[in-house]
Structures are given as C-alpha cells and as structure tokens.
Symmetry: none
Subunit: 330 residues, 6 copies
Amino acid sequence: MGDVFPKVKVAAVHAAAPFLDRDAGVDKTCRLIGEAAQEGARLVVFPETFIPGYPVWIWTHTPATGSPYFLRLFANSVTVPSEATDRIGAAARAAGAFVVVGISERDGGTLYNTLLYFDDSGRIVGKHRKLVPTCVERTVWGQGDGSGLKLVETPFGKLGGLICWEHSMDLARYALASQGEQIHVAAWPAGSAVTHDPSSGVFDDLTEAAARHHAAANQCFVINVQSCLDAETVRDLGFEGRPEMVREGGGWSAIIAPTGQILAGPNRDKEAILYAELDLAMIAQFKYVSDSIGHYARPDVLQLVVNFEPQEIMVARGSPNSDYPVEDPE
Amino acid sequence: MGDVFPKVKVAAVHAAAPFLDRDAGVDKTCRLIGEAAQEGARLVVFPETFIPGYPVWIWTHTPATGSPYFLRLFANSVTVPSEATDRIGAAARAAGAFVVVGISERDGGTLYNTLLYFDDSGRIVGKHRKLVPTCVERTVWGQGDGSGLKLVETPFGKLGGLICWEHSMDLARYALASQGEQIHVAAWPAGSAVTHDPSSGVFDDLTEAAARHHAAANQCFVINVQSCLDAETVRDLGFEGRPEMVREGGGWSAIIAPTGQILAGPNRDKEAILYAELDLAMIAQFKYVSDSIGHYARPDVLQLVVNFEPQEIMVARGSPNSDYPVEDPE
Amino acid sequence: MGDVFPKVKVAAVHAAAPFLDRDAGVDKTCRLIGEAAQEGARLVVFPETFIPGYPVWIWTHTPATGSPYFLRLFANSVTVPSEATDRIGAAARAAGAFVVVGISERDGGTLYNTLLYFDDSGRIVGKHRKLVPTCVERTVWGQGDGSGLKLVETPFGKLGGLICWEHSMDLARYALASQGEQIHVAAWPAGSAVTHDPSSGVFDDLTEAAARHHAAANQCFVINVQSCLDAETVRDLGFEGRPEMVREGGGWSAIIAPTGQILAGPNRDKEAILYAELDLAMIAQFKYVSDSIGHYARPDVLQLVVNFEPQEIMVARGSPNSDYPVEDPE
Amino acid sequence: MGDVFPKVKVAAVHAAAPFLDRDAGVDKTCRLIGEAAQEGARLVVFPETFIPGYPVWIWTHTPATGSPYFLRLFANSVTVPSEATDRIGAAARAAGAFVVVGISERDGGTLYNTLLYFDDSGRIVGKHRKLVPTCVERTVWGQGDGSGLKLVETPFGKLGGLICWEHSMDLARYALASQGEQIHVAAWPAGSAVTHDPSSGVFDDLTEAAARHHAAANQCFVINVQSCLDAETVRDLGFEGRPEMVREGGGWSAIIAPTGQILAGPNRDKEAILYAELDLAMIAQFKYVSDSIGHYARPDVLQLVVNFEPQEIMVARGSPNSDYPVEDPE
Amino acid sequence: MGDVFPKVKVAAVHAAAPFLDRDAGVDKTCRLIGEAAQEGARLVVFPETFIPGYPVWIWTHTPATGSPYFLRLFANSVTVPSEATDRIGAAARAAGAFVVVGISERDGGTLYNTLLYFDDSGRIVGKHRKLVPTCVERTVWGQGDGSGLKLVETPFGKLGGLICWEHSMDLARYALASQGEQIHVAAWPAGSAVTHDPSSGVFDDLTEAAARHHAAANQCFVINVQSCLDAETVRDLGFEGRPEMVREGGGWSAIIAPTGQILAGPNRDKEAILYAELDLAMIAQFKYVSDSIGHYARPDVLQLVVNFEPQEIMVARGSPNSDYPVEDPE
Amino acid sequence: MGDVFPKVKVAAVHAAAPFLDRDAGVDKTCRLIGEAAQEGARLVVFPETFIPGYPVWIWTHTPATGSPYFLRLFANSVTVPSEATDRIGAAARAAGAFVVVGISERDGGTLYNTLLYFDDSGRIVGKHRKLVPTCVERTVWGQGDGSGLKLVETPFGKLGGLICWEHSMDLARYALASQGEQIHVAAWPAGSAVTHDPSSGVFDDLTEAAARHHAAANQCFVINVQSCLDAETVRDLGFEGRPEMVREGGGWSAIIAPTGQILAGPNRDKEAILYAELDLAMIAQFKYVSDSIGHYARPDVLQLVVNFEPQEIMVARGSPNSDYPVEDPE
C-alpha cells in the first residue's frame, strides 16, 4: 500500500522568537529549517507570529503604555514578498522542505497575524491571515478573509492551517476539512506563559482538546506548535522576576494522529523540535469509522458555505491604472 | 447578577442499562430521576440509548449471529409517545426536573438512536435522532433529520444535545451553537468497555477532547454522560470471562464549564451520579474572549446552512386518514 | 413478543364468480365467508370483481358485439351501499371476519373496478377503485382517484390492496407502503384463462413477480388472489369447445411472507381456499435488512406526492339537496 | 419498422471477481469486454463491484476482524477517473461497445458502491452510486445522491441501472422509468453464495421477482447480472471447506424482455456470458397494454419528486483552488 | 332489467297561453293536466311563462308604449304559494302526475321567469328562476339565483329544467348534469312567432341543436316544449294582419332520447300534446360510450363550482321579527 | 367596422387519410394546404388524426386481432417536433396560412389524439391532446391535460379547438369560450362510415347539434371538419364488400356562423374543401343577445375551474440531463 498512501517525516519547531527583531527571526528560522532538514523532515512548522514574536504586551499593558512596542512591531513586521520571505524561501529550497511559519505581516498600514507557506523550491504557495484576532489582539491586527482558507497541495498530502483560537471556529476548521485536509498546522503562541491572563491556566488543556478533536473529527494529522518565551523577551517586557505577570517558557506542542493519538510530544516550556513520520494509511484506517466529508456527513441537513473571494474595499470598473500621461511629454 | 444569569443544579447519571429490557430500563430511569431530584437536580441526564441499552453485539457479532439480539432490541425499543414515555414523564413531573434520556426509538419498521427531552411537567419537549449512526450501528438504526437539531427552552437556559460521534460533526455542533446553546448534553455509550474494537483504547480521550472543545469553542456547559456495562450484560452477550472482547464497566462522564474546565468528574467504569451547579454567568465571562456566534464569527466568510425540515418519504395532499366507516348496517 | 406482534389467520378465496349475476355472487360470497370463518380465518379475501364476475368479453368481442354483456354488467353491478353490500356485511359480522371483495361498482352512469373492505362488525371500512383500468377495460370502467389509496386499520395490522395491473404502478404500491402497509391484498382476474389474449401465457409469471416483489420490497404480507372461470361462464361467452379463445380454470393464488417466501399455494386453475397464519414478527425480522419507508428510504432524493383528495366534477357551495317541499297544499 | 426500433446485441457477464485486486480485476474486465465484442455485443454489463470484488466479509466477520480486508478494499478501490478507468475505456473503445461495470469507488476517504458507464469511444458517460448500502454494507460504503439517477443515451436506447437491493426502492426504479428507460442494468453480487446469511436462500428468487417485475412494470429490457465466487476468494476469506459460511459459485443472471419473459439464462453458480439480441419493437408492443409513464400513469394522483442535484457538504463562493504560487523567488 | 331501469310516460304540452289572464291560464293548465293524465302521462310539462303568457311586446314595443302591458303582467303574475298554485297542485294530485309549468312569478315588486314543479300529491317540490333574462326581457324580470339549480327527485328519475336561452349557458346545463339529471325540461316561448326579431328565423334550429346536444352530451331525456301564439294574443298586441311583426303559431316541441334521437315530434306552430314512454335503460346504454359526470369527465382538469345558496340582500343577525308588543295589550 | 373586425377566408378539408402511412399523410396534407392557399385561405383545417388516419379497427376488432394495426399506428404516429411536423410547417409557411391538423402523436411509449397548430411562418403554436379518448379509443390513446386548452392568437382572432366527442364536455367547450374563443375548430373522424357501431346512424346529427350549439351558445365561428374513408382503407381493414361493418365515405363537414347558421356545407361522404369568409363583426352582432362569458354569465352562481398545468409524473430538482462525459481518455 506504499503506492497509495505516502509517508512523510515532519518537524514541529517549539522555539522562542527573537522578540521584535525581524532579521534575527529570519536568521533563526533559516537555521532551524536547516537543522530539521538534517533529520529528514520534509515539512517544518513554526509557531504563530514567530517573526517577529507574539505581542505579549497587549495582555499586560494598556494601549498607551504598550504603544512603543507597537511601533517596533510595525517596523519589524514582514511584507510579502520581501527580502525576508526571499531568505526563508531560499532556506526551504536548500533544505528541500516545505515550511510553514507564522509572521506578523504588514500590508500598507495594517498588520495581519499570518501563516505563510513555502514549497520545497522556495516559492510562497499559501498565505492565511487569522480571520478573527482574539480580544485585545484586535488592537494590533486586522481581519483576514476567506482567500486564506485554501489548502496547499504537497506531494505528501493536502496541507491546511489555522492560528490559535481560530481552532474554536468550527466552521473554519470544517472549511479546511471539506477540501480534504490531510495534514493540519495548528499554530499558537505561548499562551500559558502569559500568567497575568486568567485563561492562561487552561490554555494548554484547550489547545490539546482542540488539536486532538480536530485530528479525530476530521481524520487528519495535526502538527500543533506553540512558541515559548525566553528571558530576553520577559526582560524586554519589563516582567523580569514577576512570573505572576509573564514567565519564561510556556507552550504545548505535539504531533497527533488521525485517531487522536499523540505521535510526538507533548513538549512544554522549552525549545525542542518534535519529529514524527506520518503514514497517510492511518487516515484510511480511521475513515472506516468516520469520514467527516463523506459517509459521516449529512449534506441534506448541514451544509457549509465558504466565501473564498478576497475582500476588496474598492472594486474598479474599468482600469484603475492612470492613463496619464497619454503621450510622452518629451 | 443572579437576576440575569440563572443557576441550576444538574445531574449526570453514569449507569448501566438493564440490557434489552425496556420495562426494567424505565423502572431504573424513574428511580434515578427521583434520586437526583432528592439532591436538588433540576436537570437529569442519562446516557445514549439507556433504554433498552446499547447494542454492543453489533461490534462483536456478524449480522447473522447478532440477529436474535436485534429482534429483542426491536421489541424493546420505545415508541414515542407510549406508556414507557408516559411513565418517564410522570417521574419528571414528580421530580420537578427536566430529563434527557437516550432511547432506542421505534417508528414503524425502523429504529432510531434518539435523545428524548421531558420538561418538569412531564411533557416531551424535544427529540433528536442521531444523524449518522456510526459504522456498524447503521445496521440497527436509521438516520435522523434536521428537525432534531432544535434547542429546548428551559427556565435555566437553552438546552441542546448530540449523541456520541455526532460530536465529530463540526457542523452539527455549530448548528446547536448557532441557536445560542447554553447547556449541552453529550450522550455516549460505554465505548471503552467494548475492548474487541480497536478504537476502544482511545475512546475516553476523544470523548474528553470533544466535550471540552465544544464547551470552550462555543461557550456552553457540557454535561457529558456515558453508561457502563454490568455483569449481566456481559454474560447475556456471551463474553463472561473474555474481557478482551467486552468488559464490565467503561464510560467517562463529567460536567464541564464554558472555559473547558471540569466541574464534576470525570467518573469512570462505575455507576455514579455527578452533580454540579451551573452558574450561567460563567458563559458571559468567557464571551469576553470569544463568542462563536457573535464577535468571534465571520458570517461574510463562513456560513452554515441547516435544513430543519422533517424529511418525509410521502407528501399527502388531502387527508390520508380513512373516512370510513360512513354507514352502519344495523 | 406476542404482545408486540399479532398473528392472524387469513384466507384467500380462489373461486369462479357466478357470471353477471349479482345475487348469486352475493350468495356465493356469503357462503364462502362462512366456510373460511369455520377454519378460523379472521380475514377473507376475494378476487377482482368477484361480483358479478370479470368482463371477459371485452378481450374477445368488439364494443358492438360485447354491448349486450355490458348492459348485463351494468344491471348487475353493485351500488355502495345497497342491499347487496348489506348482505355481505351481515355475513362478515356473522363470521367475525374482515372481508375484502372485488366488485364492479355502479355510481350513477359509470362503473368502477372496486375493492370493498368490510370490518368484522359488517361495516364498510374502505373502498378502492382501480386507478387505471387496463387497455380495453377502459370501455367498461371509469378511473378511481387517490381517496382509495388509504389503508384500513385492523386489530391485526394495516391493510391495503390493489387490483391486477395496478401492481405495475410502482408509485401506487409505494403510496400504500408509505403509510405502513402490513398486509396487502392483490386481487386479479383469471388472466391465464383468457387465452385469446397474447399476454395470457405470461400472466401467472408476472403475477408472481409482482406479488413477491411487493412483499419483499415493502416488507409486508401479500394475499394474492385470482379467480377461475367455470364452464357456465365459458358457455355464456360463446366459447364452449374453443379453449384457444377462453378456457375453464385459470388463476394463480398464493399467500406470501415479507421475505418473499410463499406460505400457502400457489393454487392454479381450480377453486380452493388458501389459509395461512401471518405472524407479524416476520415483518420486524425483515425490517432488519430493509425498511422501505425508513432506513432504506432516501427522502432527500426521492419523495412521493399522493393526492388523497376525492376528485369531484362539481363543488357545491350551499346544499345541492332540494329544500322542497316547503309547504303542504292540504 | 427497423428504422423506428433499433436492435442491439448485449452481453451479461456472470463472472468471479479477482478478490481485492484492482489490477487483476481491470485485466479480467478488459479481456471479457473483448470476448463479448467478438460475439457482436454492443453493450457489455458486469456485476456489482466487480472491481475489486464484493466485500463478502462484512456479512461473516465483525468490524474488528474484518478491518484488514477493509484496508485492502480501500487500497484497491477505483478512483474516477484514474489509470484503471482509462484502461477500461480503452477496452471499450477497442471493442466498439458500451460497458457498464460495478466498482468500489474511492472518493477522498469514502468508498462508494458504484456503477460506471463507458460509451463505445471509451469515455465515461455515467456514474451511479448506490443510494442506500444494504445493512452491514453501510460500514464500507457511503451513500450516493440523485445525480446518479440520470439515464445514459446510447444509439440503441436509453440506459439506466441500479445496484442490488436498490431494486426494492420502488421510487428509485420509477425515477429511471420516468425518464424513459429502455434498457435496465440490474447489478448484484453473488448473494446466494454467502450462505451464512439467512436471506441467501431466497436471494435468487427475490432477484428474479425484482428483475422481471421491473421489466414488465416499466416496459424495458433488464440485463440482470450477478457475480459468482471462485475458490481463491473463499480461501482468502478463510472459509475453505466451510460451505455453510461461504460457498463457491452463486449468482443468478438473465436477460429479460419487456413482457417479463426471459430471453437468455437464467445462469447460476458458474461463469458464463449471456447474450441476447434486444429488439426495441418489443417495448412498443407492450406499451399497448401499459405505459407506466404515459397512459398507465396517474400524475393527478401520484407524482414523484426526484432531487438530481449533487449533494455537497461545502459550497464555495469564489474558487477554492489555491492561487499560489503567485511569484517566483528566482 | 325492469327493476333497475324505470319507464315513464311523459307529456309535452305545446299550447297557447291565455294572454295576461292568470285565472284563464290556471284553468287551461288544469284542464290539460287532466287530459294528459287520461293518456297515462305521469309527468306533464308546460312552456315558459305559460301563466300568464310570454311578454311578446318587449320585442315589438318601446318601454313607453309597452308599459300598459307590463302593468297587466304584474297584476296577473303568480305569487308562490297562492290560490293559483294551490289549484294547479290539486290538479296534479287529481291526475296522479308530476307537473312542470312556466309562470311569471311575482315576489314583492319584482317579477321572475320561473319554472314551478309539483309532485303527484300536489306539493310544490321545486322552483327555478331564469338566471339571466335575455336581452330586453331584463326590463320585466329579475335574475334568479343558484337555489333553483337543484334537481327534483321523482319515482322515475332525477328531474331538472332550464328556460329558453339558459340552454346556451353550458355551466348551467352542466350544473344540472353534475347532479345526475335524467329527465330534462327545456321550456321556451314561441320564438319563431316573433318575426320582428332577426333571430326568429334561426330560433327553431338553435332550439333543436341545444336540446339534442344536451340529451346526448349529458345522457338524459329532454322534454322540449314551446308555446304558440293564438289569434287573440296577436290581436291584443296590435299586430293582427302584420305577420312580419308577430304571427300566429310558432314553437318547436319534441321529446328526445339520451342518444339525441327524437322520440316524439317535432311539433310546430299548432297546439298538441306530445307523448313518449321514457325507458331509463336507454341512459345506461349510452353511458357505455360516455358518462359526462363519470368516466367521460376530467375533474383533475375541469371542475364546476356551483353556488346553490339563495342570495339575500339582507342578512339578519338576531331575529328580524319585531318583539313588540312583548305582552298582549288585551 | 373593417378596422375593428377582421375578415378571414378559411378552409375545411374533408378528405380521406392515407391509412397508417405517415409519409403519405404528410404529403397529402402539404398538397391540400397548397391547394387551399391558392383559393385564398388563411386558415386550413384538417380532421381528427388525419395523419396517419383514424384507428377504425378498434371498433371492429378485438384487442388481440387489432394489435398488428396498433403496431403500424405506433410506428406511423407523429413525434412533435420531427421531420414530419417540419414539413407541414414548411407548407404552412409557403402557403402563408395557419394550419390545424389532427395527428396521432407519439410521446415515448404513449400515443395521443392530438390537434396541432401551425402559424403562417410554419412554427408550432399550439397542441391539444384529447382529454378523454372515447370508449375503445382508450386502448390506443392516452389522456391529454389542461395545457392543451389554451387558445392560439392569430391576426384574425382567437383560435381554439376540440376533438370529436370532447364537444360533449360542456366544461371543456366553456374552458375555450371563457378565454374569448372566436374561431373554433371541431375535428372528428368519419363516424358515420363505421357502420358496425350502433351510434354511427346518429353520428352526423350529433355532430351538427354540437357544432351549431357551440357556435350560438358561445358566439363563435365553428369550422367543423370530418374525414371520409377511401376504398383502400376499407380493404386494408378487411371489410371490402361488407358495408354493414365499414363503408366508404362518411363524414359531415360545415362552416358555421355565431348565429348557428351554416355558411358552407354541409358536405357528406366525399372529399371536398369547404371555404367561407368569416366576418368577425358577426360575433359582435350576436353578443347583443348573448355573451356567454359576459352579460349572459352568472359568475356568482356558476364558475369553472380549469387546471392548465401540464401533468408531470416526475418533478426534477436539478437537471435530469446527464453531465457526462466529463473527461476524454485520449
């Protein structure tokens, strides 16, 4: 059955982002891609907004006291494409691996919480912007649209991904499943390190529930990857010695089978690269019990409508390009 | 906030069903309703097909060797309404409690895996038939339709429910959530006791993931209730002394808060009634972070279409009821 | 399971009708009801237009040469209710049996090919007029409407029936099935005796196929009953000694289980009363494999619309009954 | 009348499938197409799921003990289109014949019990998925929708088909008839060979009743074709020397005229190709007596509603296809 | 068949009315009833407004010059009941015959063109007022309502009738037919005698066409009866010697069979009583070909709605009877 | 009044049909259209089922002995549209005339007794199928529905038509009248030539009564057209020299004014084309006396309900047309 069901080794990079430093973030990303490729990984996955790090201060500061951080975030966010994405692409090509990495993307005057997909030739093959930033995240990031809900075709299966609390959006998860998602990237920040927030205590549990549920409910592998915070970030935020506000470490990462079983991890609180070989025959085995978009669906009762269209604030009738000058002024 | 957000004490009955014995099942149901009411429960929830028990043999026998059990199931299934439902209604009224109980329902020549809802005056106020029986369950139960996806209004909130692996149907769960579900009944069989089936080992984990995920993703309480198997059932199935086929015990029950935290339980493998007081203010607290059908939804991108219409194989114009006799020969 | 599934002894009367003689036909009907009741039958079924016999001449004569027979048929057809039906009702009551008998019914100036149902107290409880008379039958009988497609409730199950080639109307058969038919009466003439017609050679085969198919496809018992022709009828038709035109005998009768198996008969070419005890538990057993109106139906794809309304050529507002005389001249 | 009513020679292939071996199944299919074409057949019909064979074990094993067979079935099922269907198409084109073949189809994670139609140029011209898998078949196959109820136009008439116990669905059969079906393919497995199942004893009788009834009731030819089991399959299933479980042989195949008469066969228990020349004038002859969708219909009383729409679990606005890569890093 | 189909001798009285002389008209009516009864007639039919004669002047005078005639008509019209109707009733009783007679009826300040029915005991059993007076008739008669479209039951069949050009109202004729009309009275004036009117030349032809058509189209007997004018009437109108205005004689009377064949008459221009014996078996014979309200009707396509309610200009809520004096003043 | 009331010359073709020979029938039809157009006719009307002739044998043979004729009728009936109708359309266009022609229409397996309307550009603009075939005609023709009761608009007035004994259906005639019918086509066979049938003697009289009555009752022109039988047809039927069975000749044709007066004809027993110029002002003149759908109607008492909907035995949701082929194997 090797012909029918491919196998692929994948890597989940549980790591701390160089805080608000795009170039250092790209450096670290490229280095870790290379390291994982050394171990044979054909798909390397990084956490939410790994470049240039998650904006922890939004949960611990007021808008006024947090604004200097915002300006640093704005300056260090990643334009697509740009030299930064070119460098990651080159690393992917060198490694012969697909790469999924979370970035804070800048498009004009708005930032987005974005997952960026590179194929093993280094080309950008997918981009998903978080549909609904969570709570106070709405102060730094805009909303994505349905164009980011499309799957990426790879030689080892159909690849999709969502960011953090998007996993609570049952319709968003099913939008991926409905296209035949086989490997799912679940990218999160180090939620359990932001101890000031009351939900930090249950963050790992909810992560695990969402990740295992998605795997089993939709018969796909889930590469769940969170970041951790390093001492430098805690210091930069002004919380050194105040673990009741923000602590070092954090994060819950694991690679999960379509049966909901954990293949690698869980890893918590420290940097690590988790590896697992995904045997897509496992999907077939579990489809015997349930195929959420086939024999276990009820399209006569329940149907999802997905708008994959990019949302444009202006629609041009006729060409929006200036036709002046119409002749050469020379 | 007591005026705005009601509180209610609820009970989850983790118990063994009198196997293929409708009358004994009704007896036990009525007795346990009374017991829970003694403890102050205003809502008492029973497992999947508690009357007359889950058809374990479908996983351990062939259709031919299982057929004698099927006829017993057919004969002991519950017609709605009937004397059996009248008795449960009377018990609910006597207890002053809402009751949700899983039954194998018989309608004509087809059985359904049904959740039946009684209000505290004993009336049947809701009925949900499992939309997609799982794997070999399809040999004993037909499919429900969307008419069973409606919520039940109670004085203490909007009540919904699903059965077993329906919790993997993201669209079905969201169909309930989209109506404002506040208390969710998750009814399952004692999956972990059917050891012959390879998925029995992960059954409890998937139960927990689904239940906690639904609570947090859709900001509702979840009353998760499974049954266990008693020695008599194991013996009746012919597996006494063969725990590698079917074992006594089984089941994972818990009452879960909208944050995903476990309020009562988990209880495993033995009979117990779990109690918790649900403070609906907890829903409001978590809505601050996420409201899956409000500020955390994206109707411009993702929309669910639900067909609540009953599906009829025959539409009658004019009355199909006989208008005879029209004369009297005397 | 005796409580759930009743048993009933039924009788299929394969007999020759007194040709175009209503009174003799009623006499014979009443006598045979008594005889079957002696054997314990609670349901006694007679062939198509047993009173006053099937109009064989329409297949062997032209309209002009057949018209004298038509006038005899017209004069001997049965008005409902009338003294003839009162007598049959009295026989049913005396026998304590339900009776289904085919008649040529007269309503105003039109005759109908009708099945008439009596309960065991002698009341008329159902009437079905053949929806589409077959080929040249259309010269003697009008068309029934959907009001005759309703089932008759009995203590031993839901009873329906169709006439002869109506069994080829898949929608008509399913209209009965969709209401939960449990015992089906299939009434036919002695088709195989009308040898002048080319289809007479395959008549018995098609009867058997239709009857067994309906039983199995819709999980009901079928009481298939045909008449035979006696020498007097052959002589009256002018075909004595011409068996290549019309022969004595004919008919194929049988009582068939929901599995399609033959419980009694087949009887051919001679008078006989077939008996069988119907155990309605057999229906439940076959519903395990198929329930044509439940788990084996697809209402989302296939739906039948039945117009049960009587079709009236005139709708009266106010009473059409004369309100005269209003005064008395004396 | 040769101009009005075409004639066509057809072949019904009663054969054993190479068990769970798609490639061998395609080989055998192509070889038999060629053989039938040598005899002049312009339409060649194969049994239900001839590629890669019927999943006999579902009737004789439990879900757990049958699961290894399921994975082999999954791996050997046929994707449409694929190299396997290309090869059958090429054989059809080489033979100058239309081909109807039963396959286990794989679409994503769900298998379907499918009839596939090729025209004589080798193109796929129709696909029907069984609407309701029977009893335990529901553990391996999903449900088709109404899009498979469309007829296939051929130079020799309108062609339709159903699978096995779908013939008990009166509405499904009439859905084909209502479109003017002239040649009907009835594809079944070797039901009488699965002796462990209690219905195996009556399987041939019900097949015959359904096939002959459909032919006569709807005035079409029926090519009824079943498979048989070879010794290798019985051995692979583990029932060598246990004929009370599964036996070699089985199957009832015949070619039937619109009058219900058998033109070729019946063939039982052994491999054979049945041939008959179908003279479509026979349809006209029987239409004189009955036209189930014309003069013998009662649309004012009975009407069928058919939903031919494909049922989709997700409706995409805009293209779900990725629009990446949009740039090239080189 | 004498029991089933009654026979009856009927009389059609083609006679001149005593012009505008109610008492003489009653005398002549009673005398002719007796004469017909002598011949064995059980039903005696008179022309339109035989009492007190047809208002010929409306066609030959202006409203102003005709007004003296109108006052005489008003004074000689018949109130129902009254001494005049009592006398006719007594004659009917004496004769043992049913009587149908045309009258100009006075009800308050309005006259009506009325057919009055007496049974053989002398009671009034039916009354029909012409629904639409023709052209200038509207200056003397008001409109009837649907209460006059009811049939009269007699021992020899169902009796209905219309007046003159009402026979052009297809719906009015069918309203009678739809109730099972067996004997139809067609009452007309002496149209062909009013030569001043251009349609007088075709009057007899249209009478015949309407009468024969109704008989055959609705399978009933038609007693078509017209009056003639005597010299006195012509003189009274002032047209003595001016036959181009109004002539003596006129009228076309006949008794017609359900086949359209003429049984008695036609009689023209002179007084005569036509007799025929009606054999109701003739209806049955023609019903073989056509039954306009049975096998030859299409209620699914064509349906007549008849409002039989009397039309009242005032509806009283509570009793309209004065409750004064409430006690007796004596 | 020439501006308001058009005049039109019309032709009634009383002719013998080439018996059971569609091509010859089309030839003759086209030739006679041309001939009538030469005479200036703008509307040319042919008898009932002129192509391919009326099935006389149904009145003189049994179903069995008549069946060889039926197959010839089936094969020679006209599909709409087809090459046959294209040719008639071309003749109409060449002639610049509207054409109404009776055909035996074939639709699938059922034949219909149809009137087909062509406009002067050759397009089919109307089709009426006889609602109730008469007596034994029911063995060869199915029933039309209300969709054929719609009028055809022409430059010279509103055109309707009925077939043979449909003229006895008062409601059908009024359904045309109620739409404002101005020119009525009454198409019949040569009834008086089928002497074996007892009603042949009165056939011409009833034709005349119906035609003249409809003209006067509903104030329209009637083009009454019957066919005759030629020697070849009599011989083909096997009745050469047996005029007591079927004779040559037959038919009664005439063109009738709204007053009931005969404008052309009557023609009997021989081929002829009758011509008349219809002056629609005659309608207005007679409306003075009576307007059956205006001042002479009583909608408060009498109302006709017409169902113009086509009656479909199957209602499709989604397209029933195959969407295959979807791929090309090359």
